[in-house]
Symmetry: C2
Subunit: 215 residues, 2 copies
DNA sequence: ACGCTAACGCACGCCGCTGTCCGCCTCGCT
DNA sequence: AGCGAGGCGGACAGCGGCGTGCGTTAGCGT
């Protein structure tokens, strides 16, 4: 009689929910976010309706699927921030971020994309960026990071990293690692580097895909 | 009576062909290669059948549409090769390539993708790579390019550059320019750089899209 | 054990893209 | 000017993804 919380899921429903998220994570990691919803459902051994009931839009599914990745992301940033050597911390963040993205193709897209409704998702993103900004400030102060570095350069590098595609996961990681090293090399303060061209304010592209969001 | 060349197109057909290619170039540049064939036809003011008659597969359309871009590509490479300072030539190639790709989103995909049938397309790609390889060799000899640079790094950078997306073309170019500068900065020989991690052999991904290529 | 209700999956209608067939048009040659 | 072939476009069927309504199943509380 008392109004139940609408969040009390039945045991089988909860089980399915977990399997859906697991399947989503797996397939997103390999094939990116553009896989059809039905494919996720198939892999989860669930009918489309079930998937849609639990996650009405792809955005919700993605947000929840990558929640733990976001934790990993935060962990990486915090680890870098905790390092006594700010430049080493900065490098670590770049490297780990690139690796994270190399291992999970969908995560890049999720992080790059902006989700109009997933506020906490955005918040975490902002937190990470802010932390990297702090790290960069300290690394500059230590004279290791080039002074014309701006925070947008991180986004630039992460976006760029997302453009790297390989056939096998191993190759993907190897390539990404090398790219990260190149990026770090580019960011390093050095006497004989020429100044960088102006920054582009990279607003992330539109949302993941068009749900039934028409007027 | 003598068997005519089958390539003798009628004037109106030739006109349509040109308009199709023009439309294709325009839309590919802005939206990439994933636009539907019908969209190209629409913009060209042509019925779908006409498009399909002239270019049975999207691959053919893409190949022909980007022919002149490939010329531009070759021109850039040759210009770099002609420069007396190999390092300056190398930088120029990187910069111009990135800009080319920034201005034309489809071109990146076209260059990155491998077309099973378009042999001359591949050939040009090979030519460009070979030339850049020569340029790199000379730049290394001059002591300006880091010695652990490998040719695959160019592909890595171009792929990465293709990952950069912006809302406006201007922003896109600005971002790409900065990225190119960063890449060059990373490639520059310098006393205080740490060695790079191993190279990933980046085979380009599969072809553009699956035409009716079934047995 | 029983019943209520949440949860499930099948199957449906809708839409956009693909590639092709066919009747009409028009270019170009005589 | 007349004719024929090459070209054109509208229309069609097939496919795949999307999102949902509905009858059935099974968890959970009494």
């Amino acid at each position: 009689m008392t109004d139940r919380l609408p969040h009390a899921l039945r045991s089988d429903a909860l089980d399915n929910r977990e399997r859906i998220l697991e399947a989503a994570r797996a397939v997103f990691a390999v094939d990116g976010l553009d896989v059809p919803m039905r494919e996720v459902a198939r892999r989860a051994g669930v009918a489309p309706a079930t998937l849609y009931r639990r996650f009405p839009t792809k955005e919700m599914l993605v947000t929840e699927a990558f929640a733990e990745q976001m934790y990993a992301c935060r962990a990486v940033v915090d680890e870098g921030l905790a390092d006594l050597d700010p430049w080493r911390g900065f490098c670590l963040v770049i490297e780990k971020m690139c690796e994270l993205h190399a291992r999970d193709r969908g995560f890049t897209a999720a992080l790059i994309s902006t989700f109009p409704n997933a506020v906490d998702f955005d918040a975490r993103r902002e937190y990470a960026l802010r932390a990297i900004g702090e790290l960069a400030r300290r690394a500059k102060e230590a004279g290791r990071l080039r002074t014309d570095f701006v925070l947008d350069d991180v986004i630039l590098v992460l976006m760029a990293n997302s453009g790297i595609h390989a056939t096998s996961p191993t190759t993907q990681v190897t390539a990404s690692r090398r790219f990260a090293a190149l990026a770090i090399s580019a960011f390093q303060a050095s006497p004989d580097v020429s100044p960088l061209p102006p920054v582009a304010r990279l607003a992330p592209p539109a949302s993941v895909s068009r749900p039934s969001q028409v007027g």
